[in-house]
């Protein structure tokens, strides 16, 4: 039975319907998330440490001042940035290439895709320990295989640069499959009609790829890159387990620093401040990324 459609009613009922749908999710988020965040912000203005029975007191911006004047903070910041600058392009491009390679069904593709996801599925703690063995100077298979190519064994985790590379290896290994799978889903969402139309058209495979697939995949690609940026900035397990920030402080990142100060030194005020700073940095990066890169897809005709 057709209903009488009046524009104004549609708008209102639309909004009401949408808000109703959104309500349960919103309640959950606010309850579980907003609270702790506010608490953390509050703590960052306190001089509060749980290492000695001193009552916490307001220190306004003292935590922040101490951090900004501490070389250790900048060192950690620098390392987080490097990991992001190198890791993101590598993982995004690699993930995209592999997704495109896997996009057509072939015998065994089901298994191959499942196998590709395994790195993400392995408990980070175990993955870290396994990589430690693999990278071992004397007993690890990597140096052994390099030796077969006549390359001298490298003390991967003992030198600053190679330690950083090792962390990037492990992170890339663990998260490129994530990029691939999300992009595969994105590719799957592209209606078959598009391909059917273009093959009738006579376009070659690469034309189809560049002119049709990529632009349609772009929003999903940008989304997964954004997510990777956010996650890689928080990188913790690979660093903590492989090097614990070492040698010295050559691989200490902001998250490792937050954890050390918050959960080993129990300097609650200071670690809250670092967390706030981390939040601000990634907010800025995310905003810029969204504005510059993602919004270019707006105005795309649907």
């Amino acid at each position: 039975m057709a209903r009488m459609i009046r524009p104004a009613t549609i708008q209102e009922s639309e909004k009401r319907f949408a808000r109703l749908l959104a309500l349960p999710g919103m309640i959950v988020l606010i309850l579980l998330v907003a609270g702790p965040l506010a608490y953390m912000l509050f703590n960052s203005f306190l001089s509060k440490t749980l290492a000695a029975p001193i009552p916490p007191h307001f220190a306004w911006f003292r935590n922040y001042a101490d951090l900004f004047s501490d070389g250790r903070f900048w060192n950690a910041f620098f390392h987080s940035m490097i990991i992001m600058a190198v890791g993101i392009p590598v993982q995004s491009v690699l993930g995209l290439i592999i997704a495109l390679l896997l996009n057509k069904k072939f015998p065994g593709s089901k298994i191959v895709i499942a196998l590709f996801l395994i790195p993400v599925m392995i408990t980070p703690v175990v993955a870290g320990f396994e990589w430690k063995i693999i990278l071992d100077n004397r007993f690890g298979p990597l140096n052994y295989l390099l030796g077969l190519l006549n390359i001298q064994p490298i003390a991967w985790l003992a030198k600053p640069v190679s330690a950083m590379i090792s962390i990037l290896f492990m992170d890339t290994w663990q998260w490129t499959p994530f990029v691939t799978i999300v992009l595969l889903a994105g590719l799957a969402a592209i209606p078959k009609q598009i391909y059917e139309a273009s093959s009738v058209d006579g376009s070659s495979a690469s034309e189809t790829l560049w002119r049709m697939t990529m632009p349609l995949l772009r929003p999903m690609f940008m989304l997964v890159v954004l997510l990777r940026i956010i996650f890689i900035f928080k990188i913790f397990d690979p660093v903590q387990i492989l090097t614990a920030g070492g040698p010295g402080m050559a691989t200490e990142t902001l998250s490792v620093l937050t954890y050390t100060i918050g959960f080993k030194n129990f300097n609650v005020g200071m670690s809250a401040a670092i967390a706030v700073i981390q939040l601000v940095i990634i907010t800025i990066i995310a905003k810029i990324f969204i504005a510059k890169v993602m919004n270019r897809t707006e105005g795309r005709a649907k």
Partner: protein
């Protein structure tokens, strides 16, 4: 698919409710339940051994094990949250000061009558420096971690090596008793693959020495040298002494030693260091006591009946004696939280673990505990499964000796923070990211900040109380 998902969800809810109901069966026994907290795995094995006897005494033991690296944060979180969840806690002595100061733990003397833990049987220095705080006993020992000097026996007794050494250095080849001697020995034994060692060609590069350079406990390996040079963490006014001449000299010396260590020494943690020694990559090294227990296992060791253990090298004094100190990172002690509802039963459990079960614990392959009682040291037969009786006797004598020269972790409030800053400085300097002076000075100024944040006068008071024990054992040079 929609219907299936709804069904799935309903099934899950039921499943969850069901399992929850199953789990929340309250145990309707008249026994007292004592919850023991410690790091997971083999170190809680003795607690399992105790369960039967405890049950016979009306005590039901429940165990909460957490990963090794998480002991502090989990315990501290529970303490801060005031949950009172644990009746007996096994933790690392470095946190003793903080936990006692916050009154998370209760002093134990008044509970001694429940089951005398025979504290006089504990190696004195370990007892006084790791179990007491502000004059009271707050913890019972459980694991006597101490660092020892290890070497490969046959290369020191090989005739060709002895001759070559004498020719090169003009003195007899011997297990080094001073750090300077170690430098010569390490240099002497560092060789490339293909060169000869004790009459056989080497199938891999060989190094004279190795230490633990990975972040976390690296500071302790520097502390061995620093202690030997007469160092201490603070002076009696809480001025850091880590960047004193002794501190800088010790770190500079360690850098010199590094040239005779494997190239991956800065990433060496417990496993890597152990394997470097047992797989025949190094001539000497420093590590915890339990390595000895593993050295004669052919499955993992290439130096069976060839592993020597010795006192920590030191520094020759004016009167000819050698002054040496051995660091004791990690270790385990047992405390009783102030919040426990059953202090007597809890103490019974703790005392049983620390005394009655201790010999079995420290001499078993199933645990990782190391000896700490005089009664352990007098029982070499219990250790015969690890080596010959003679080897066992030597091992126990050395461990006892090193324990009596203990250079303890800082265990005043804030220890985790102090030690982390120190560890960072040591590893920075050794890996070349900072000069020795810069690294230690930076750590010292961080230490000043920490002390200020935690209340300088209180820290000073606590530290000076600890110094009394140092003086008692002749470790404090005014």
């Amino acid at each position: 698919m929609q219907g299936m998902r709804k069904l799935l969800f309903v099934f899950l809810v039921l499943f969850m409710v069901g399992t929850q109901a199953a789990f929340s069966q309250a145990s309707a026994s008249s026994k007292v339940t004592i919850t023991v907290y410690g790091d997971q795995g083999q170190n809680l094995q003795p607690v399992e051994w105790l369960k039967e006897e405890a049950a016979a005494n009306g005590i039901n033991i429940e165990v909460v094990g957490v990963p090794f690296t998480s002991v502090y944060e989990k315990l501290k979180t529970e303490f801060v949250g005031g949950t009172g969840a644990f009746d007996v806690v096994i933790f690392y002595p470095a946190y003793l000061g903080e936990f006692a100061e916050f009154k998370y733990l209760q002093p134990l003397e008044k509970l001694f009558p429940v089951h005398d833990p025979k504290m006089n049987d504990v190696v004195p220095a370990y007892r006084d420096l790791y179990c007491t705080y502000a004059g009271s006993t707050y913890a019972l020992p459980y694991d006597g971690d101490i660092l020892n000097f290890y070497y490969v026996k046959n290369i020191f007794t090989d005739k060709s090596e002895m001759a070559a050494f004498k020719a090169k250095y003009g003195k007899e080849l011997a297990v080094p008793k001073t750090w300077d001697d170690l430098l010569d020995v390490a240099q002497f034994f560092t060789r490339k693959k293909g060169q000869m060692l004790a009459g056989k060609p080497l199938d891999q590069d060989f190094y004279g020495f190795a230490f633990l350079g990975a972040r976390g406990f690296a500071y302790a390996w520097w502390a061995n040298i620093f202690g030997g040079y007469g160092g201490a963490f603070f002076d009696k006014n809480m001025k850091p002494l880590i960047n004193s001449k002794a501190g800088q000299d010790a770190l500079t010396f360690q850098k010199k030693l590094m040239q005779y260590c494997p190239p991956d020494v800065m990433s060496m943690g417990y496993e890597e260091l152990k394997n470097a020694y047992l797989q025949g990559r190094v001539a000497t090294m420093v590590q915890w006591s339990d390595i000895w227990k593993k050295a004669n296992d052919p499955a993992i060791s290439k130096i069976v009946h060839n592993a020597g253990i010795s006192q920590m090298p030191g520094v020759k004094q004016a009167d000819g004696s050698i002054y040496y100190r051995a660091a004791a990172p990690v270790g385990r002690v047992i405390g009783i939280p102030a919040s426990t509802k059953h202090p007597k039963e809890a103490f019974w459990v703790a005392s049983k673990l620390s005394l009655d079960l201790s010999l079995r614990s420290v001499s078993s392959t199933q645990t990782g505990e190391d000896p700490y009682r005089i009664s352990h040291m007098e029982n070499p037969k219990a250790f015969e499964q690890f080596g010959t009786l003679a080897e066992a006797k030597e091992y126990l004598a050395v461990v006892k000796d090193n324990l009596n020269h203990i250079f303890p972790d800082i265990n005043i409030p804030g220890s985790a923070e102090y030690l982390d800053a120190l560890d960072m400085a040591v590893t920075n300097a050794l890996s070349g990211s900072a000069s020795v002076a810069d690294a230690l000075n930076s750590a010292a100024s961080t230490w000043d900040k920490i002390t200020a944040n935690l209340g300088a006068s209180n820290q000073k008071k606590i530290y000076n109380a600890m110094l009394e024990s140092w003086k008692k054992y002749g470790f404090w040079k005014e």
